[in-house]
Symmetry: D2
Subunit: 359 residues, 4 copies
Amino acid sequence: MIIVMQRGASEDHIARIIQFLTSLGINVERMSGQQQTIIGIVGSSNGLDIQSMSTMDGVQDVVRVSSPYKLTSRTTHPADTIVTFADGTRIGGNAPSIVIAGPCSVESEDQLRRTAECVRKAGGRFLRGGAFKPRTSPYAFQGLGFDGLEMLRKVSQEFGLFIVSEVMEPAHVPSIAEFTDIVQVGARNMQNFPLLRQLGNITRPVLLKRGPAATIEEWLMAAEYIMAGGNQNVILCERGIRTFETAVRHTTDISAVPIVKKLSHLPVIVDPSHGTGKREYVNAMSRAAIAAGADGVMVEVHPDPDRALSDGGQSLTFELFEEMVCDLVRIGDALDRPLLIEPFTGSTTLKPRPKVSAH
Amino acid sequence: MIIVMQRGASEDHIARIIQFLTSLGINVERMSGQQQTIIGIVGSSNGLDIQSMSTMDGVQDVVRVSSPYKLTSRTTHPADTIVTFADGTRIGGNAPSIVIAGPCSVESEDQLRRTAECVRKAGGRFLRGGAFKPRTSPYAFQGLGFDGLEMLRKVSQEFGLFIVSEVMEPAHVPSIAEFTDIVQVGARNMQNFPLLRQLGNITRPVLLKRGPAATIEEWLMAAEYIMAGGNQNVILCERGIRTFETAVRHTTDISAVPIVKKLSHLPVIVDPSHGTGKREYVNAMSRAAIAAGADGVMVEVHPDPDRALSDGGQSLTFELFEEMVCDLVRIGDALDRPLLIEPFTGSTTLKPRPKVSAH
Amino acid sequence: MIIVMQRGASEDHIARIIQFLTSLGINVERMSGQQQTIIGIVGSSNGLDIQSMSTMDGVQDVVRVSSPYKLTSRTTHPADTIVTFADGTRIGGNAPSIVIAGPCSVESEDQLRRTAECVRKAGGRFLRGGAFKPRTSPYAFQGLGFDGLEMLRKVSQEFGLFIVSEVMEPAHVPSIAEFTDIVQVGARNMQNFPLLRQLGNITRPVLLKRGPAATIEEWLMAAEYIMAGGNQNVILCERGIRTFETAVRHTTDISAVPIVKKLSHLPVIVDPSHGTGKREYVNAMSRAAIAAGADGVMVEVHPDPDRALSDGGQSLTFELFEEMVCDLVRIGDALDRPLLIEPFTGSTTLKPRPKVSAH
Amino acid sequence: MIIVMQRGASEDHIARIIQFLTSLGINVERMSGQQQTIIGIVGSSNGLDIQSMSTMDGVQDVVRVSSPYKLTSRTTHPADTIVTFADGTRIGGNAPSIVIAGPCSVESEDQLRRTAECVRKAGGRFLRGGAFKPRTSPYAFQGLGFDGLEMLRKVSQEFGLFIVSEVMEPAHVPSIAEFTDIVQVGARNMQNFPLLRQLGNITRPVLLKRGPAATIEEWLMAAEYIMAGGNQNVILCERGIRTFETAVRHTTDISAVPIVKKLSHLPVIVDPSHGTGKREYVNAMSRAAIAAGADGVMVEVHPDPDRALSDGGQSLTFELFEEMVCDLVRIGDALDRPLLIEPFTGSTTLKPRPKVSAH
């Protein structure tokens, strides 16, 4: 933060500001020219809300000139974070970009198995599926809960898939981390700080969705909560922001990909299913995400989208999913960053839920 | 919901839609003209995502024509909900409009007592103060926790004030309900569904802030979660929405007041401190809120805003607070809905935290 | 603008920045501390886009610390601008607040006369009516053009009303200024710079609506175009901004009133008809505007809103209009700033379209 | 439009609605079920604002079920519009995707020539350059006007490039159409209806930028104005919308590409220079645009961006431009829709500004 004094502010006013800050143990640096003085805050502001000082006498403006996040910043950690699973599968950096796919909600073992098979046959390694569902309406299907997680465990082992599923409350963190390979934080919980703090206590990778009204800075600050707690395995996921446009459910902010890549070292993926809310646009937006440099995409796939219990309109059919994977492979190859596609041999030699390390 | 079939859709397509819905136990009504047919859903959609059907053959559009909320709707509950405290103090309906005031965060007993005295002398009955604070940065002051609640209890009893304080996680609901007269849900938790469900299990009134990116419909749906759980004492609080404007922190949506009044029977108040983020605009926006028909306002007051540990820039000084109350009294009188102002006699005959009833 | 150099930027980098700026004739002031240097721009930047320098070596950030508008700024012109008409009627400052009312579009002389009579009987002095209409669809009613202006002239003279009507293109400015007392610039033309420049060449007051996606700063910059051309008679009009909320057409930004009052000396009024798009919310938002300190409101009134050729849903009936005026009178009196209400005697002694002066 | 009557609305109410509409010459279709009736509007609404009827007795809701644009709609014109120049160069449909590049403003002949050479050597065929500049500030560089257009003509002929330049007011349309191959309408003029009408009278292709707060529907309605006037050569250009995100100037809405492709037959390109406002993100967003199916991109290139008179921060250097073109060629090839790249032979056999046809 810097405090820009008014041109011609009195020495008295300047001295009072400096004294106020130093009395609170805050280090300052005075930069003076012939007509104007600027006071810079060096290091921590000790919890003081510097912005509040903008109404003090002699102050013209209080301006932030450094980012408020530290652990998530590329300045303090120039190398890309790569989330690595026990079998060597990696997300981020120059690792192949990934596809996470599956139904919005786990509805039944049969629905899940058919979808998992489709994902695996297309070469995918990550199965998503909601067991605890945040729904706008209390009357909508709320998910199968731990029964759904059991189905995810069973089916993912059959096909050698990693599990991605959402946690909604702090008390569930340990058990959901046990069931999954990546714990997802939904967009509406991006600033659920007690939840984020709990996630800082585990080592399981966290997929942190951007809130629909969150700036990129706030999103990185939310990741900072998790990292400050000790968990370095954070994967960011853009899933559409709220704008005035009504042709789609949200506006997928593809520019978030290069912006995050510049500001942070964390992996970033895109979810065009929630980002658009309409299956007909998912492939185009997945292509855009990969072309823009995303570390992967997450999409919804359902054996019979018209009959889905949630978000059917945005779920891909199996055919559309395969088509999308083909397109992404082409773009990945063209830009020298291939898509992670592992041929399915029919047996599941891969161990699911392996240990994870970050560097 | 209604399903608008394409002009000239075949009988076959129409029959298939109807059969699909009835096979799921959904009641439909067919409305046919000479060229076009519309299929209406009667009653519950049994959890089916009707919108997903918009891609089925013969369908032109799927349109919602009734609101998704029931308990919060004025249609189903035409009379205003009035939240009533044991001493007869009421919020909502034609009751006097109220002022809730206090510091953003409880910082010390002295800070709280001085503020409480100011609020009480101005005639206020409701003391706000954050003990658990949702902060964007993990490095910012996070509140005094239960120590802060103890201070609130002590000081509120001295001055006969009702306590309003925030709850951030489901596990804290019972204890915070014990300490407070109104449990506040912060804007970022408006769609924290496990928290809302817990709040449905208590009878203590809930002040539900609107999320900065929440539509009014989503806000009413969040209230629906609480009411569906059994707690009818919900007070809505507009506190600014996120827009492109950067001159203030948020855009206070004053129109939310008459809109909520039309759509719902619940009381609605406005928080112009968070709504603008700048103390210099708080009085004008409080006046606007009361003039527009709000059931009250909630503002931040601090004995020394420049040194506040949080949100100092938006906190009123004692002088500005008194000035605001005077203005609100004038407007209330002019519009025949007075402000609740109770003279302070210096003794606290009022029992804090009385039982609450709603009707 | 200030250019914040990186902590520890080399003397060489600092020198290169200063040299670059001075070579373009830009005055700079160097403010140096022990570790950091900041370079301030003094006076004009001679058309250089200083922000572009943020990518130059050694630069950490380029920050604006002064507002880009000058003539519209309260800093350079502390006293309120009051637009004054020949008969002494005034808008702005501590003058009584005003009501501008009339149909969205002039549809017929009869429609206009009946509306004008209603406005005048309620004590109003300003008649609005669109003759050239900006319509989203090329197939919608586009206004009666100069025929409509003739009707406005005739009817306004009968009732002693000032005329407010919209201009849409630069070539029409002189003739529309001839027909009207206040020339309106619609929201979609707020940044139609050739139009603004033409309006700088006349003396007729200009009512400048805020664009639905314009920041307050951009709005003041648009006013700056008119004032820089020589016309000081600018009245600002908030009419709702575009947000994600869909319950109303726009979100009326009531906070724009106190913000404009702080930043600028220009009068500011509010148009809640366009601001909400629904007549049922117009009264509440007019009350809010006046309570927040607006210099007036502008509303749509129509003898038969259901049959209006444009914007019927947001037009007040005569009854609702009278009710609104009564409410505004009460609030104005309560806040010691009365509403301008002139009793109608049945004869039109007032001269319409008088000369205008600003100070 | 359909008018949904309340469940149980009386026959009298239904009859009154139908009578009201037919009395205005509007054709209706009555669709009745056992409990509910819906009235559909068949064909034109004769300028009546049907939405206004939502407050009439017995009406539950008025809902639009068909799009308001006709000529721009893919429903009425299923085949892609391909804008074709005299030498056979095409934009749209399955034609190679194009790159339009050049400086934000024409500043000097030297600046323009160096940029044109860079564009041409990279294989580009379209040179952009602003001569009339819409600037937020009246004190910023406003462009060289017709001198700038003369420079564009001269330089484009040297290198065989098509010219794209902006028109700002109706009176300039004929002369600017004379100087250019594609007439650009800037974002802030998207709803400048007199300008759009003038552009309907020419045959020169029009590049219609999306307004920063315009929905896709409003954008197509603006194109409808041009097409309704007789000019079928409209190219849409997404250039970023206004959102709450402040990390970039605008949010480039990549999803607009597949949405426009679905709703309309018109070509659509993307301008990531204005879309992001920062050169470091331009390449990533151009790649995203082409991957999503855009018919081309438009970017700003400048020989010395730090010294640009406008928008320097978003202009690519020559090196970055060449790098971007290489990336786009790769993606185009991967997706079987190559980029239009024409080797530069050093002589200008190509005739600029040829006749144009659309189909």
